[in-house]
């Protein structure tokens, strides 16, 4: 499971009193370089002295050798004088000042790609279909029994399958390539189309994961007969292609599915959580 740090490291680029403003193109270049490394940036013009709050750990500015005191509550803050430094130099200095603070850096080999479902609260009816569908504990409920995306980092990158089971087209994957899953407006035709997707999965056996389970155990049986992991895997792939196409599930996700027994256990737990949430809502008079 990926664990995310609470705050993204933030840099303050200070151009207020006592600091010489950067020329606009250099300012844009520096901000872009920091963002592309994964930092947040506040461009601040106000105040006699730069203030650092909310996760900022370094203040950068052209102070001409007279780096100011920084007002900061809590964590220590480094002040970096960027006078005469290129954007690349400043990024290197910021990296040094970051120390052991965790950073999810875009493009890094071990980076977590932020891919997860986002709920449109204006459309969600809390039917809990997504909660009972997901095997990876992405969904949960809040104290008022409303659906909540509890563990975004558990989601399987590039898999938008749960958006297909939502009857109200309330599940968005902002980094998806097409609407309405990417957050584009939902047309009436989209609602119909998504309903059709559910019908497809019903045709395939009612419950997509029940079908996956069945296919997996077929492959497992074959595996024990043939004693060939490669053949069993190839068979599993072949059988699942149709399902993957119907729900746009990437092949890697299917390959990464746990054992049939584990799938069964997880599906039962997810269904129980969904039923408990619905019962909680009914008891509270919510529908």
């Amino acid at each position: 499971m990926t664990t995310l740090a609470a705050r993204q490291p933030r840099v303050v680029l200070y151009e207020g009193a006592g600091a010489e403003p950067l020329p606009a193109p250099e300012r844009a270049e520096l901000v872009a370089a920091l963002l592309d490394r994964g930092y947040s940036v506040t461009l601040a013009h106000e105040g006699a002295a730069p203030a650092a709050s909310g996760g900022a750990f370094v203040v950068v500015g052209r102070f001409a050798g007279r780096a100011p005191q920084v007002e900061a509550a809590g964590e220590p803050v480094t002040v970096h004088d960027a006078t005469g430094r290129s954007a690349a130099d400043v990024v290197t200095a910021v990296e040094g000042a970051r120390g052991a603070r965790p950073l999810n850096a875009p493009g890094a080999a071990d980076a977590w790609k932020p891919w997860f479902p986002v709920i449109d609260p204006a459309r969600c009816t809390n039917c809990m279909q997504c909660l009972s569908f997901c095997l990876f504990d992405v969904y949960g409920v809040d104290s008022e029994h409303r659906l909540r995306v509890e563990n975004p980092a558990n989601c399987k990158v590039n898999c938008p399958a749960c958006s297909r089971v939502c009857p109200d087209v309330a599940i968005i994957f902002p980094k998806y390539h097409a609407g309405p899953i990417d957050g584009a407006p939902v047309a009436e035709a989209d609602v119909g189309r998504e309903k059709m997707k559910i019908d497809i999965s019903a045709l395939l056996g009612g419950d997509l994961y029940a079908r996956l389970r069945e296919r997996s155990s077929e492959a497992k049986n074959r595996f024990s007969r043939e004693r060939s992991a490669d053949q069993a895997l190839a068979e599993r792939r072949r059988c699942l292609t149709k399902l993957a196409d119907a729900a746009a599930i990437p092949r890697e996700v299917l390959d990464a599915l746990p054992s049939p027994e584990e799938i069964q256990r997880k599906a039962a737990v997810a269904a129980e959580r969904a039923a408990a949430a619905l019962a909680g809502r009914a008891a509270a008079g919510e529908t």
């Binding site: 193109p25 963002l35 506040t42 106000e46 875009p106 609260p121 902002p174 407006p185």
Partner: protein
């Protein structure tokens, strides 16, 4: 952190650094315009990533919009952006929030909306893709590559 146009405006720019769903040229031109505006702003590497960690900075920003200031956000589809703030336990109110869609609007329109406020650009940000405009702009870009031959090879083959 105020926009040049007004004391009560805060601007937030999303770099969408983990994906290529926002056109690179739009992202670059919007950032260049903000940097040249003379105003302060907030910039985040990836709003999605921040929302996933429920970064408290998002709650600070949402609170601004609820305190009589206007928060202008250059990112992507408003439905996605609102959903992300909601996921981060920092829901955005209806009033005081203007979202500009860098996935669909040209950089100049986004910048106009960010720096001067443009209700039409905000409304257009929430509307579906204008396929005709997209086609025309693609045709314009192709034409800008140079004079196209009068006949395409495909036509010659017919």
């Amino acid at each position: 952190m105020t926009a040049p146009g007004g004391e009560n405006v805060r601007m937030l720019y999303c770099r969408c650094a983990f994906a290529r769903v926002v056109p690179d040229d739009v992202k670059a031109d919007v950032l260049a315009g903000l940097a040249a505006s003379g105003g302060g702003f907030e910039a985040v590497a990836d709003l999605c990533e921040m929302a996933a960690r429920r970064d408290p900075h998002l709650a600070d920003l949402a609170a601004l919009a609820g305190s009589g200031q206007t928060l202008r956000i250059a990112a992507c589809w408003p439905r996605a952006v609102r959903g992300l703030f909601h996921l981060a336990d920092a829901p955005l109110g209806e009033a005081g929030v203007e979202i500009l869609n860098m996935r669909t609007l040209p950089a100049e329109r986004v910048l106009d909306g960010m720096l001067r406020g443009d209700a039409a650009a905000v409304a257009a940000s929430a509307q579906g893709r204008d396929e005709e405009a997209a086609k025309q702009s693609a045709a314009g870009r192709i034409a800008a590559l140079g004079d196209l031959p009068a006949r395409t090879p495909l036509e010659d083959a017919r």
